[in-house]
Amino acid sequence: MRLEAAPDEGVAARAVSPERIAAELASVSYIADQSLATVIFLALRLGKPVLLEGAPGVGKTEAAKAIAQILGRDLVRLQCYEGIDAAQALYEWNYQRQLLAIRQAGEKDVDIYDDRFLIARPLLKVLKAPQDSVLVVDEIDRADHEFEALLLEFLSDFQISIPERGTLCATSRPVVVLTSNRTRDLAEALRRRCVYHYIEYPDAAREAAIIMLQAGDVAEATARAVARAVRDIRARPLAKPPGIAEAIEWANAATVLEKGGSPWPEAFRRAIGMLVKDEEDLATLGPELGDIVEAALS
């Protein structure tokens, strides 16, 4: 059975236009640019999974959480890693319970493949209740090619084949978000099945807005200075360029230090460990950090 491409009514009611999506995302503290809002709108209306690629820390998983929030659904997260297989992603039989059931039944017949013995993993959970959840397949690039192949059936027809039970099919198209840090190229077959967006680091103005929205007690001038300095730092050849979360932590930490008595440039320098978390990068930045902070504050 092939699913209708149309999304369910709840999703269609929410996805009126890209501008409305952007406004709703902003209401749950996620600031999306026009391209990302358009991609989410299209994915929801076309009933296709969204593939979000980008450097670590640009807000891919946060985007998925924000989508779940605006749709009022639970977030079901499948964190990928090398070696992940069907038992962790789809379903597993509870063999211990099956054995106990066989022992208890004695001579009587017992169906050991009914729902009581089925442990639903994230993909099956979403398939059973597509209108209640948003599935995030996080860091798909960490999984191996075998797992990518496993996802293909799910993402194209939203169905799962269980040999003992037959094929289970979703009653409506679930909302699925895949994220990738792009540590390797994903298969074309997987990319084709998705609506695609590459999330860049935000520009300084948008990053300052994000910092002000997310950080607790950071002044606007501090947020702007942090955004400028972080932009400057990201332009350098670092092993681990800082993400948005690190920028927020840096702004928070510097504010705490400043309130504790450190003057401004010094507070930023002392809190640098919240932003740069690699020894080589700290050594590279060390001599120039003062100038970067001074320039950002001026």
Binding site: Q34, T38, A43, R45, L46, L51, L99, R184, Y196, P237
Partner: protein, 384 residues
């Protein structure tokens, strides 16, 4: 007989854009074209930005080719020649010229991917490759042997084992359930062995001109025979050529390489090129635990400190780091330049890179039992 449904006239330019992308080697499926049409209808479209967003979302060009994609979009929908600053230059009469100029520009952009722009003193030279029979048999044998000769590591994926494995509780229980509690013997599993990543960095500067062709032939065989290999050229910039080496025919692959590399036989800035590699998260991640082979004479024109720093960073990530230099063919060879002397402590091997046979022999021995990185301890000492 039912007549085939025909597209509305307004959809024709959209479908033609998909066709243009296919001609430019973007892998576009029919389903993506249908999604593009639906997306455009959903968005209105109220502006050209909407049209572009719909195209980008549904055709999903990889970040490497986004600029090329944008150029093709402007070419198709605006008839633009050089870029957005020139404004919209529509009109069928100008389309032919525009096609050529934008195609040239798109090719230039494709060359830039993975690296930085080269300076004006580069010697840009397109290369011709001879269909050289010599060594072809040896390379094809090398390719066949490569799969089982490369070093391996234990993957986190497990596979059934006949003996000497861990108990596979899940499979054992499954068997137990199926056989109604009667299990002949417990099922075992072991971690699957997968090839380590192989990273090949080829110096294509003027001083290496004699060897470049051979190196690229070896690189082609590696891309064909290894599960996980990446190949880059180093000159005045860093260029990823793995995709260009994918065609099975060496001639075809080498021709593609000759078009995607723009800094043949120019100067050498190994330090900045390697720095660019390490600073790109996906390439740095690939280098982690990889066997890295640098094919270069080590004659750095840039700062030797920069080269040392970059090589040291690579060494820290690598499973094994090797420099193959043609200079080592001379039995009297001693590293004399500051750059070579500087990187010597972090190298696992310094080998003769003057011929295909010496290179292939070394690569095939990488996975031999007992072939381990000799310099691991030395590298750590250096880091401290």
């Amino acid at each position: 007989m039912m007549a085939a449904p025909c597209l509305p006239r307004a959809a024709a330019p959209l479908v033609a854009f998909a066709e243009l992308l296919r001609q430019s080697e973007f892998p576009i499926s029919s389903e993506q074209v249908t999604d593009f049409l639906k997306a455009v209808a959903l968005l209105g479209p109220r502006s050209m930005d909407h049209l572009f967003d719909a195209a980008r979302a549904t055709f999903g060009p990889s970040p490497d080719r986004r600029q090329e994609f944008a150029l093709l979009f402007r070419r198709h929908f605006y008839g633009e020649v050089d870029g957005p600053d020139d404004g919209v230059k529509g009109g069928m009469a100008r389309r032919g010229d525009a096609d050529d100029a934008v195609a040239r520009r798109a090719r230039d952009v494709r060359r830039e991917k993975g690296g930085t722009l080269s300076s004006a003193d580069e010697v840009l030279a397109a290369r011709d490759w001879d269909d050289d029979d010599e060594g072809r048999g040896a390379l094809s044998r090398f390719r066949r042997l490569l799969g089982r000769s490369l070093p391996v590591r234990a993957s986190f994926r497990t596979v059934p084992a006949r003996a000497r494995g861990q108990l596979d509780l899940r499979r054992s229980l499954r068997t137990l359930v199926r056989t109604d509690g009667d299990i002949p013997r417990p099922r075992l599993k072991r971690r699957k062995r997968v090839q380590r990543n192989l990273l090949l960095l080829i110096d294509i500067s003027g001083s290496m001109k004699l060897y470049t062709a051979d190196y690229l032939k070896v690189a082609h065989a590696i891309v064909q025979g290894a599960d996980r290999a990446e190949v880059f050229t180093l000159g005045t910039r860093l260029t990823r050529i793995t995709a260009a080496l994918r065609p099975a025919s060496p001639i075809q692959a080498l021709e593609r390489v000759s078009h995607c590399v723009a800094d043949w036989d120019g100067g050498t800035r190994i330090g900045s090129s390697l720095g660019a590699l390490v600073a790109t998260p996906r390439f740095a991640a690939f280098a982690r635990g990889a066997a890295i082979l640098i094919l270069s004479d080590g004659l750095e024109r840039g700062s030797h400190e920069e080269m040392e720093r970059a090589i040291r960073q690579l060494a820290r990530r690598a499973f094994r780091l090797t420099l193959a230099t043609p200079l080592a063919a001379d039995p009297q060879f001693q590293p004399e330049t500051a750059a070579l002397r500087g990187i010597l402590p972090v190298l696992d091997d310094l080998i003769d890179g003057s011929s295909i046979s010496s290179l292939t022999r070394f690569i095939l021995a990488l996975g031999a039992p007992g072939a381990v990185a000799r310099n691991k301890g030395k590298r750590e000492q250096c880091d401290r």
